[in-house]
């Protein structure tokens, strides 16, 4: 008779739960290596490059007046554009989800075009239209409103490229908010307007935040379309990505990486904050139930 020695329970990593879903080790390993190669290592290289200046040098380069001006232009215009996109993107998503009209499918497909169009093409097209001699620019020129070659032009370009992000994040959630909830609101005596403001919009909040974050991030990083329409006047309509490019042209690689690092930090902080708000509201309202 042999005493069966039961193997002592293996002490594995504590976060690893027994599960029927296979390949945890493999997939996590792959994810981390992939993530490192594509995202983490380049970003760290960027940070190391700019850290070469030392804290004081970094601070000096980062607080240079022209750099601050460019950062301000980039972030303020991206915030405005994302804000506008959220309003009209929600409206477009609403129309696409709730109504059936001829040409809806085509309209739906056109929404994605800014994803596919080379941004330089978009920039040139927008400039041609919004320049004082262009079709729309000519309407505003007589009353002294200039659109192209001002920050307004930057906002328009950012709206153009950011719109699909908002529409595509809100659309599926809006489809999920059932007709029954709207009907329930109506049977309780709420007017159409009250149903929209008190029932539908609040339940879309997490999706709207996601759309805002995506459109904002896209706007901050955009380069191709903006340089054509912006006019690129330092302190007025020069965006940070353009300034990075200018620094590179001057062979000032460290200067370029400092601006990039600052952009990265600000973007990360803002996106992280938005993510937190989102996680909080998702948990509370229990989406995915």
């Amino acid at each position: 008779m042999s005493a069966a020695v039961s193997p002592a329970p293996r002490k594995g990593l504590s976060f690893r739960q027994p599960s029927v879903i296979p390949g945890f080790g493999l997939t996590l390993g792959f994810t981390i290596s992939y993530f490192s190669l594509i995202i983490l290592i380049p970003l760290i290289a960027l940070a190391i490059r700019s850290a070469g200046l030392g804290p004081e040098g970094f601070w000096k380069a980062a607080t240079d007046a022209r750099v601050l001006g460019a950062l301000r232009v980039s972030f303020v215009t991206a915030l405005i554009a994302a804000g506008i996109n959220v309003v009209f993107g929600t409206l477009i998503a609403w129309v696409l989800v709730r109504y059936r009209f001829p040409g809806r499918r085509i309209f739906d497909a056109i929404i994605d075009l800014p994803f596919a169009l080379p941004t330089a093409v978009a920039g040139i097209a927008l400039t041609a239209i919004y320049a004082p001699s262009g079709a729309i620019g000519a309407i505003f020129a007589p009353i002294g409103w200039r659109i192209a070659y001002t920050p307004v032009g930057i906002v328009i370009a950012m709206i153009f490229i950011g719109l699909p992000f908002v529409v595509r994040t809100i659309q599926p959630i809006l489809e999920e908010v059932s007709n029954e909830v709207e009907e329930a609101s109506a049977t309780l005596g709420a007017s159409r307007f009250q149903t929209i403001t008190k029932v539908i919009l609040p339940s879309l909040t997490p999706a709207i935040l996601t759309g805002f974050a995506l459109a904002f991030a896209r706007g901050v990083g955009e380069y191709g379309s903006i340089i054509f329409i912006a006019g690129n006047i330092p302190f007025v309509s020069e965006i940070a990505p353009l300034l990075i490019y200018i620094r590179l042209q001057e062979f000032n690689y460290v200067g370029a990486s400092v601006i990039a690092t600052v952009m990265l930090l600000i973007s990360f902080a803002m996106l992280f904050a938005i993510n937190l708000i989102q996680a909080w509201s998702r948990r509370r309202y229990g989406y995915g139930h």
């Binding site: 059932s178 029954e180 909830v181 009907e183 329930a184 609101s185 109506a186 049977t187 309780l188 005596g189 709420a190 007017s191 009250q194 008190k198 029932v199 609040p202 339940s203 909040t205 509201s281 509370r284 309202y285 229990g286 139930h289």
Partner: protein
């Protein structure tokens, strides 16, 4: 509030969902709209609510014509199968919603709204959960919140669309009893839709059996169960067995044998015999229905056997005591205690 549905017809894209339906709902009664899916029962409920507009016909609330009124103006309470709670609001906010959205002139003060909502939460036995969100509640609790929310606006009529359809059997039975109690306490005229005949029989004062966009029969559970007006109602309400029979000399015959069941005043010729599986007497002798057991299974406190009657392959089900010795191939003779004949 009485509700009168007068000659209502409803078509969806020219497909008729309801043909010329009329129904009088008495003030304070609990009435069930019962039927298989596609029978038009939910459409009828939504027409009463004003969530759909009739193609023809009118709906009266008391003496006033409600047909032209919007859903907001009708002041009805509606409970959906899948609760349709507002998930970004707490339970308390959900229940007070209907009062809060009223125009300033008819809106009670905030303290009063809160007091009323808390009172209703107490009525539906959810006191203490008012700060939770809907996703933190079980299905049964959510449906109770939905009912409290509907009651908060003091509706003229309470309409429930398969209110227990999404719940499991146990919770369903509990809520059924509890809904009956709430109804007896509040006295709202209540219409509820169900496809579950057991639920309809147990819960309602009267039931309205529907099939293919038409009303088949309206009556108390006793009337509908004991005196079904059509083969459809007989088959849909309760268990039923059916056999083709011949009427001759005021007696029923199957395969050339009299089965010992009088035909009453049914005219001579072909007919259809309906009876309940539990409503039979086992008999010895010739003048009876006799068959061979094909399958036998235990259902609760009885044993349900399927019998093949005669050589034509007609099968009927009857209930035997669970300890009856009949096995497969046993021969059993019986006579229905109560039955109904419908023309073939």
């Amino acid at each position: 509030m009485e509700v009168r549905v007068a000659n209502v017809r409803k078509e969806f894209d020219r497909f008729p969902a309801l043909h010329d339906v009329s129904l009088d709902i008495r003030s304070g009664e609990l009435i069930a709209l019962l039927g298989p899916s596609g029978s038009g029962k939910t459409t009828l409920l939504r027409l009463i609510a004003g969530l759909e507009m009739p193609t023809a016909g009118k709906i009266f609330f008391g003496d006033t014509d409600a047909s032209e009124k919007t859903v907001q103006e009708r002041n009805i309470g509606f409970v959906f199968q899948h609760y349709a709670l507002f998930r970004h609001m707490t339970i308390l906010e959900n229940v007070s919603f209907g009062l809060k959205v009223r125009p300033r002139s008819s809106r009670p003060p905030a303290g009063e709204i809160r007091r009323r909502a808390m009172e209703l939460l107490d009525l539906v036995q959810l006191s203490g959960l008012e700060k939770r969100y809907p996703n933190q509640l079980s299905g049964g609790q959510r449906q109770r919140v939905a009912l409290a929310r509907a009651l908060a606006i003091e509706p003229a009529v309470l309409l429930l669309d398969e209110p227990f359809g999404a719940l499991d059997a146990q919770v369903r039975r509990e809520l059924r009893k509890w809904l009956r109690e709430i109804h007896d306490r509040t006295g709202h005229t209540t219409v509820f839709v169900t496809h579950d005949q057991e639920e309809a029989l147990e819960l309602s004062d009267r039931l309205c059996v529907m099939s293919q966009g038409k009303i088949e029969q309206v009556g108390t559970p006793d009337t509908v169960y004991d005196h079904p007006s059509s083969p459809f109602v007989f088959g849909f309400i309760g268990e039923s067995s059916e056999l083709p029979v011949t009427v001759e000399n005021n007696e029923l015959w199957i395969g050339g044998r009299a089965i010992g069941v009088p035909a009453g005043d049914t005219p001579t010729g072909q007919s259809r015999l309906f009876f309940r599986p539990h409503d039979v007497d086992l008999v010895e002798g010739d003048a009876a229905l006799a068959g061979v057991v094909t399958t036998s299974r235990r259902v609760g406190g009885t044993r349900r056997v399927e019998l093949e009657i005669g050589g034509d392959g007609h099968r009927v089900e009857i209930d035997l005591p669970f300890d009856h010795p009949a096995g497969e191939k046993s021969r059993i003779a019986f006579r229905p205690r109560r039955w109904t004949l419908f023309p073939a």
